[in-house]
Symmetry: none
DNA sequence: TATGAATGAGCTTTCATTCAT
DNA sequence: CATGAATGAAAGCTCATTCAT
C-alpha cells in the first residue's frame, strides 16, 4: 500500500475504511466490488488503486488495520490482572462493543475474513490470522482454572465456550435484529448457563 | 433441469454431482466456476447446461438433491423411538457419516449453502432451507427432557449443544485433517462433557 | 447432400422439407435453429446432418429444391402463348398459389432467402438466385407491348409492376391476415389500377 | 443507457453510432455481433456495455436516436405548406439524403429495423415504430388530391407510390452501386412515370 | 492528488456438429 | 439407418485495473 494514505485527513481515511469494511463484510472477497466500495465512500475509482495498488491490497490493509485496532481496544479493556475465564470473555466482548462503535462493520468483517478461502487473498492474511489467534490465546492464557471442577478437560471446556460465543455472534451478524448491547447480554446469559458446568 | 439426467448411468450422475458438490463447497456460488465443475467431472462445458439449464439451476438441483438424500439417511438411521437428546445428536451424526461416504462434500456443501446470500440463488433454495430446518426440528422435538436438571433453560441448553456441534464440524470441514469417523468421536467427547451440565 | 434422402418415403421427405421451410421462413438463417427444425419434423438431431451434412447444406438444398419446384409449376401454369404482361403476372401468381398448397412456407422461404446476407450461405445460393431471376425474365420476355402507350419506358413500367406485386406479397407474408386467394385478388386490383397507365 | 455517452466528444459518439448502425444494418439483431461493432468503432469491448448496458440497449438507443435525427431533418426539409403528393415524396427523399450524409447507414438501419422480429428487441422499439409511422402519415395527410383524376382509388394509388419508392430504396441499399444522389434521381424518374396515372 | 473513461481477461451460456450405440 | 448425449468454439457480459487529464 501507499503510506501517503495516512497523510489524508483522518475523516477521509475512516470514510474509506468504513466503506470497504461494510462492503467486504456483506459480500465475500470475490463478489465484493470495488465499484461498491467507491460508491459507498464517495470517492473516485482511481483513488483506491492509488493508495492500495489493487483490490487484494485493500483487503490486506483492511485486515491488518482491523486486527491492530481490535488489539488496541483489547489491550485497553481486558485487564492484565483478570484471571477468571468468564470475566475475560466478558471483557473481550466489551472491547468488541467499543470497536463496533467506531467501525460498525469491523467485527463482522473479521468474522467473514476468517471464512475467506479465496486463493488470491488467503496468503495475504494468513500470517495475521495466526497472529490474531495468538493474541486471543495470550489473553486467555492468563486465565487460571481456580475454582473449576477437578478433572474438567480444559481444552474441551474452552472450545465449548468459544463455539457458543461464536454461534451467538454469527446469529447476531446475520440477523441484524439486535443491538451490540443485546449481543453482550445474550452472551452473558449463555455463559451463566455454562459456568456451573465448569465451576465447583 | 432436464430429467434425462436421471437416465444417465448412476456412476456418471454421481461423478457430476460429486464434482459440483466439491466445487460449490469450496467456493461460494458466485466464485465457483462452471469450468471447475466441468474439469473436476471430466465432462464438456455444454453438458452441464444441457442438464441443468444454467449455473443457478445446477445449484438448485444440488441443494434439493442433497437435502433429499440426507433426509433419507436421517429417516433410516435416527430411531423414531429415541427420546434422549444426546442420543439423537449421535444418530444424526451417524447419518451424516453415511452420507459423507457416498458424497464426501455433501455435508460441507449444505453447510456452505446455509450461508449463501447471492440473490441469484437464495430464492431458489429458500423454501428447501426452511423445510430442512423443520426436518431437524421434527427429530429433536421427539426428545424429552426426562432426567434433565430441573430449571435448565432448554432453549439455551439446546443452542449450546448445536453451536458446539457446528463448531466442531466447521473445524473439520475447514481443516480436512481428520476423518469423518474422528469427527463423530470428537463430537461424542464434547457431548459427554456437556451431559452432566444438563442431566441430574 | 446425401442423395439417399430421395430414397426415403415421399411423406417423410416432405415432413422434413416442410419443417425446414417453416423454420427458415420465420427466422433468418443464423437465428433459425436446427433444434427447431428437428422438433418440427419429429426426427432426431443426427438425421439432418446425415442427409444434409450441415445447416448450410440443408439451406442450400432447400433453396435449390424450392426454385426447382416453383419452376415446374410456373412451367405448367404460365402459358407459353401468353403475351400480355398483366396476364403473365396473373398466371405467375396462380403458380405461387398452387405451390403454397403443397408447401405452405415455400414462397415465404424464397422471399426471405432473397434478403439473406449471411456470408455462410450467400455463396451457396447466389448462382441459383440468378438462375431464378432469369427464369422470371424468360417468362416476361414473352410479353409484347402491343397496345401499350407509345413512349412508355418499359423498364420503369415493369419495375413499378414488380415493386407493387412484391409490396403486396410482403404485406401478406408478414401479416398472415389474409388467404393466398385474397392475395391474388388484391394483386388483381392493383394491376387493374396500373393497366390504364400502360395501355392506350 | 448511460447518459454520460452524450458527454463524449461528438466525434467519438458518432464513431460509435456509425459503427453500430453499419453492423446492425448489414446483419439482423441476433447475428450482429458486439465484437464487430467494437472493431468497427475502434473501441474496447467493455465500453459499449458501459454506455448501453447490453446489446439490446445499444439497439434501442440506435433506433430512438435514428428516428429522432430523421424527424429533425424531415421537419426542416419538408415544407408545412406543400400539398402536392409527389412533391412531398421528393422532399422526404431530400431529408433522407441529408441524413445519409451524416450517418451513411441510418436509413438502411431503420429499413432493416422495420423487419426485425427478434423478441428481445421488438418490445423495445415497437412504440417508436408506431410513432415513426405516424410522423410519415402526418406529412402525407397534408397532401390534397387537387388535380387528381376523379375516381382514382387514393389508397391504391398511394400504396403503389410507396411500394415503388421502397423497391428502389431496397435495390439501392442492397447494391451499394450508386450514390444517394442517384437514388433521388431514380425515384424522380419513377414518380414522373406515375404522375400521369394520377393527375388529370 | 484525484478523476472516471477505457481496457481486456475471464466467465456464463448457446448451438451447430460429432459419434458411440 | 436412426438416435440423442456429448462436444467446444463463439458470443454476450462483468469488473478489476490502467492512464490521460
Amino acid at each position: 500500500m501507499n503510506d501517503k494514505f495516512f497523510d489524508l485527513k483522518k475523516e477521509k481515511q475512516d470514510k474509506m475504511i468504513n466503506a470497504a469494511l461494510k462492503v467486504f463484510s456483506l459480500c465475500d472477497y470475490r463478489r465484493a466490488s470495488t465499484d461498491d466500495v467507491v460508491r459507498e465512500a464517495g470517492i473516485s475509482k482511481g483513488l483506491i488503486f492509488h493508495y492500495f495498488t489493487n483490490k487484494a491490497g485493500l483487503y490486506e490493509f483492511l485486515y491488518a488495520y482491523s486486527i491492530k485496532y481490535l488489539a488496541i481496544e483489547l489491550y485497553q479493556i481486558v485487564s492484565i490482572n483478570e484471571h477468571d475465564y468468564f470475566e475475560l470473555i466478558r471483557q473481550t466482548q466489551q472491547a468488541h462493543l467499543r470497536v463496533m462503535r467506531q467501525y460498525p462493520y469491523l467485527i463482522a468483517f473479521l468474522s467473514k475474513a476468517e471464512e475467506e478461502t479465496d486463493p488470491e487473498v488467503v496468503p495475504l492474511i494468513q500470517a495475521k490470522r495466526t497472529e490474531r489467534k495468538k493474541e486471543y490465546q495470550k489473553i486467555f492464557d492468563r486465565a487460571d482454572m481456580d475454582g473449576w471442577k477437578p478433572g474438567v478437560d480444559t481444552e474441551v471446556a474452552r472450545n465449548i465456550i468459544h463455539f457458543t460465543v461464536r454461534g451467538i455472534e454469527d446469529a447476531y451478524l446475520k440477523s441484524g435484529e439486535f443491538t451490540p448491547e443485546e449481543l453482550i447480554e445474550r452472551i452473558d446469559e449463555y455463559m451463566n448457563f455454562l459456568k456451573p458446568a465448569m465451576y465447583q
